[in-house]
Amino acid sequence: MRKKINLYLIEYAINAILRQSYKNFFIVTVFTILTFLLTSVFFITNSLRYEMDSTVDTLPQIIVQKMKAGRHYDIDVNRVDKILEIPGVSDAVARVWGYYYFENAGVNFSVVGIEQYENQYKNSFVNLVKKFDFDKLKENSSMLVGAGVKRTMENSYYKEYFNFIKPNGTLKKVTLGGVFDGDTNLESNDMIIMPQEIVREIFDLDPSKATDIVVKVANPMEIQTVASKIKLMFPDTRIITTGDLKVSYQNIFDYKSGIFLALFIVTLFTFFIIIYDKASGVTSEEKREIGILKAIGWTVDDVLKEKFYESFVISLFSYGLGVGLSLAYVYLFQAPLLRDIFVGYSQLKTNFELPFVFDMQTLFLVFLLSVPIYIAATIIPSWKVATLEADEVIR
């Protein structure tokens, strides 16, 4: 007899929400803020994970470092030729680079030297070599910097040049030759690129030496085999593979996630307290209303259906609003405040873009953690009241 949806019940439910506008406004506000926080955290986490993964993918398959006294040391350039002889190796390049600490800004930049006519171990370098005239850079003693680096330098009033302090205490003045965009934000925003000769001068590196050697392997399945062969050939080296790097990136990331996990738990806890507070309190007015409805012929089912619609409308609305705000906050405004906690290991991530990663799982998880819990929390106390003798309730 009653197959179609009872629109009167839905109308009554919406009406009931509006009649208790003050209380429901409060609930919607709290609910929205919590959904917003939860989804924002998940969105940021997912985006960063994605960014990390793509960063790792651009890293060299194998890095060979010379070790001396347990520390990373300069490596002989001629080892490149030996490594190239190993079957399976498609390319090997000696890299010249290092970290340089900018005291004014309190930041470490990576200073990378490029040889124009060598094989470039990064795609972005190939483009750089095409775009900029390295002979001229060498002549003018100039550098190329990432956009973020430029901003930091400008903040310290280095607009045209910078004086690098060499190991022997003298200064090397390097002028600003250009600005570039990198493959990944995370990496290239703290990168300074110069002709190799200048880097060698700044770090006092002999032409027969390099910082490390990167090795390309044609078949990714052979990375581990090639790595062990290199180790066998040069026992004084440390071999780092992409797999190792993934693990260490993951570690940094997991540490940051831990902070968020704590935030997550606090948020959930707050949510439960508020819900519990609401659950344990059916106002005497609401109680009376349920009693009246039953006295004039509503069944417990009718009352519960109405309460279901009521809480469903409230929770779904708040959930949608929270998710919408979170999408705007994270991807449109790039998560101000929250992202600083996450991307805190270098302050130079001003230009860092959170890539949009649409993740159904996150949305579903937050949905499960909020909407059904809220509905249950409102229906259960109403159910308790509705099953009482109507006479008791309206007396």
Binding site: N6, Y12, A295, I296, D302, E389
Partner: protein, 222 residues
């Protein structure tokens, strides 16, 4: 026909505090009869009404309406029984104060999910009959006592029930409105409804259209 058989109702206020509201009550009400239950405050009038409406259950004894045992109905069936058979005019009206007149009168129809024209027709009809149609969109909270009672009466009649129950219907009304209620009662009687009124208002004594006056004293019929 309504039959109360050996009804006893005991309220358990607490472990040591039990109130015997009714004791061994036997009463038969025929279809179309108008009954007035009289008696002092606390004598048990409201308790009888609520048993007939299946709003509460007797501690012992049976309530039989049209051959059906309604004193043992499960909760959901009790609701359906009320919806289909009973129009209850409560002493405090029990309207939802923040809803409009029309919305209040609609409430008993909601579980039936009628077509909107059908619902509207029924609501208009009772609003006209009980003279409240000019206030249909007013919020009940803002109405006078007499107007609120008319809304309560309209709501009790919107499902066209066979049995009308009124608890102290004139308690909150002045002389003129009380007289008006008697008019309404006369009209309901002419519609051949079974009517049960609980009151201690002397106004109801000796009325020509009242079939029986029943006196309750300390939970017993005298």
């Amino acid at each position: 026909m309504i039959k109360l058989k050996n009804i006893t109702k005991i309220y358990d206020v607490s472990k040591n505090d039990k109130v015997k509201a009714l004791e061994n009550v036997n009463l038969t009400i025929k279809e179309g009869e108008l009954i007035v239950l009289k008696g002092a405050s606390g004598s048990g009038k409201s308790t009888i009404l609520s048993l007939i409406a299946a709003l509460s259950k007797p501690s012992s004894g049976e309530v039989i309406v049209d051959g059906k045992q309604i004193s043992k109905l499960p909760d959901n069936f009790a609701s359906i029984y009320r919806r289909d058979n009973i129009g209850f005019i409560f002493q405090k009206y029990n309207l939802i104060p923040t809803l409009s007149v029309k919305e209040n009168i609609l409430l008993p129809l909601v579980p039936l999910n009628p077509d909107s024209e059908e619902a509207d027709e029924k609501i208009q009809e009772v609003m006209k009959r009980f003279h409240i149609e000019h206030k249909e969109d007013s919020v009940v909270r803002n109405l006078s006592g007499g107007e609120q009672q008319r809304v309560a009466i309209a709501r009790a009649n919107v499902n066209n029930p066979k049995i009308i129950i009124a608890d102290e219907p004139t308690a909150n009304l002045d002389e003129k409105l009380s007289q008006h209620f008697l008019e309404i009662l006369r009209e309901l009687k002419s519609l051949n409804k079974t009517i049960i009124i609980a009151t201690h208002d002397p106004l109801f004594i000796g009325l020509d259209f009242v079939d029986r006056e029943i006196e309750i004293h300390n939970g017993k019929i005298v």
